[in-house]
Amino acid sequence: MTRPTPKEIKAMADVAGIAVDAEAATRIANSIGPAFEGFAPVAGTLPFDLEPATFLLIQSAKVSK
């Protein structure tokens, strides 16, 4: 998982229907880049059957010391 480049960001924003100029795209790339890098160890490693709703199951499971 690599951080998107300003050029890629501009293209993604265009697809979303929101125009961003080159300066904004650069700013976004710098701003969101660390999140991509921080999540990189997890990205692409999750098991096939894992549902987002697993969170609610874990949250509601009784946990005590």
Binding site: I9, V42, L50, T54, I58, K65
Partner: protein, 468 residues
């Protein structure tokens, strides 16, 4: 000792009104007097509704004289973050876009407090659309810290932190998506409860991120927070994420000792790169907890940096999705920093967002396993005390996101995991700035945090200090 009613705690003033030792009018007037004195310096209020508040106070007094109290907060004047819909009232959400928006419904949390008998004082300032941790607002101006006027309050519940600290309201609703209750609690020296995701209905509260948003109070004490969460928690047909089941007796929990409890101190991340005074105050806090009978043990947590990153991915995408229409139609009506942060969400692929959502369950399970032997974890809310307004006014500069990330480093992992966290005033720097610590608990175990917080506040007086 001052006899100014506004200086009482929420719990104490509610009892005083119920027992007719004070009238709602006396209490409301006391708050209004303080608001008149402090508002020019703090900018904590978005709207002050003095006449309506006094009329409501008179009605409350009349009802009480007829033996018809509405509830446990009968006649208590409160103001809240200006993002809770209140039918017929303007709710700006701290924005230019909603400057004239009049709500047609009332949020469940607010309605439950109204049903308990509260009087509306007005509304409190906030960061635009609750998207920022400093308290800056390019449309309505920065909110000022009552302990040091040139310093930030923290955000996004900036007015809530400032007004509660200055004793302008007895408590205030905030919201916490990435730290927005705990940051102002830390910077302003008040108690703030970020509730478990699903503990309090979000219906009628302005959304920022549906997977992370939580409703909670800022107040002077843990006891006050216990009273408020007890009134607001519980299932709600208008919000399917609000969990069913009984609501614990949180107030009873605050009366319990912490003798024999085990409190974990992280061995890494939350203790790294701390300001020297924050580190000192963490040590002093641990010493108090030990004196009160708790065991303090080291706890090794999973990599919190990954949680922070996952939180940022989820928040950015969900916020951008909520705002997409206005991003297309009215981009010029946003402040520069909020616009920049909303645009961040456009750069995150759907697959990355969903990976971050899918990882929440395993990440929470891993955290639960790591803290299996402790009753709660304690950590600083932020690595630093309140910076100045000038040095944190970074707008949409290249440094903006790194400044924001540094401030919210210790709060975001908790939002991603949906866990409860209680921020308590834990000390002051040599320069007089408040510093808070956060107690982090198991899902839906706010009672444990309030129990520890109340015991700490029985042993200390940081929460009693009034800014001059």
């Amino acid at each position: 000792m001052s006899t100014e009613p506004a200086l009482l705690s929420l719990t104490a003033v509610a009892q005083a009104i119920a027992q007719k030792r004070l009238s709602s009018r006396e209490v409301t007037q006391s708050c209004l007097d303080r608001i008149a004195a402090w508002q020019p310096r703090l900018n904590a209020f978005m709207a002050i509704e003095a006449e309506a508040a006094l009329a409501a106070a008179d009605a409350a007094d009349a009802a009480l004289s007829k033996g018809k109290p509405r509830g446990p907060l009968h006649g208590v004047p409160l103001a809240h973050k200006d993002m809770y819909y209140d039918a017929g009232h303007v709710v700006t959400c701290g924005s230019n876009i909603r400057r004239d928006f009049v709500a047609t419904t009332t949020s469940t949390a607010l309605q439950r407090l109204k049903d308990a008998g509260t009087v509306r004082l007005g509304t409190l300032q906030m960061v635009e659309f609750a998207y920022g941790p400093t308290g800056h607002n390019s449309h309505y101006g920065a909110v000022h810290n009552p302990f040091a006027l040139d310093h930030i309050t923290g955000g996004s519940s900036s007015g809530s932190g400032s007004a509660v600290a200055a004793r302008l309201t007895f408590a205030a609703l905030g919201s916490d998506t990435g730290g927005s209750i705990r940051m102002p609690a830390h910077f302003c020296g008040v108690t703030g409860l970020k509730t478990t995701y699903g503990r309090i209905s979000r219906a009628g509260a302005m959304p920022l991120s549906q997977s992370l948003d939580t409703v909670g109070p800022l107040a002077r004490t843990s006891e006050d927070c216990a009273l408020l969460i007890g009134l607001m928690a519980g299932t709600d047909p208008a919000d399917p994420t609000a969990i069913a089941g009984p609501v614990p007796d949180y107030t009873a929990a605050t009366r319990q000792s912490i003798e024999g409890l085990t409190i974990g101190v992280p061995t890494a991340f939350y203790v790294d790169d701390l300001d020297a005074e924050v580190a000192r105050i963490l040590d002093e806090t641990l010493a108090v907890l030990k004196r009160e009978g708790a065991h303090v043990v080291p706890v090794e947590l999973p990599d919190q940096r990954q949680l922070t990153a996952a939180c940022q991915l989820v928040l950015a995408v969900e916020a951008a999705a909520y705002h997409k229409r206005w991003l297309i139609e009215r981009p010029a009506d946003y402040g520069p920093q909020v616009l920049m942060r909303l645009q961040n969400g456009l750069a995150i692929p759907g697959v990355s967002y969903l990976e971050a959502m899918r990882w929440r369950g395993p990440a929470l399970a891993a955290f639960n396993a790591a803290v299996a032997d402790v009753d709660a974890v304690i950590a600083p809310v932020a690595p630093v005390p309140a910076p100045t307004i000038a040095e944190s006014d970074v707008g949409n500069s290249p440094d903006a996101e790194s400044v924001i990330q540094r401030l919210t480093r210790f709060t975001r992992p908790i939002n991603y995991l949906g866990l409860p966290s209680l921020a308590i005033p834990a000390g002051f720097t040599s320069g007089g700035l408040p510093v808070g610590m956060q107690l982090i608990g198991r899902s839906f175990d706010e009672a444990m945090l309030l129990r520890i917080g109340a015991a700490f506040q029985r042993a200390t007086d940081f929460h009693d200090r009034v800014p001059q």
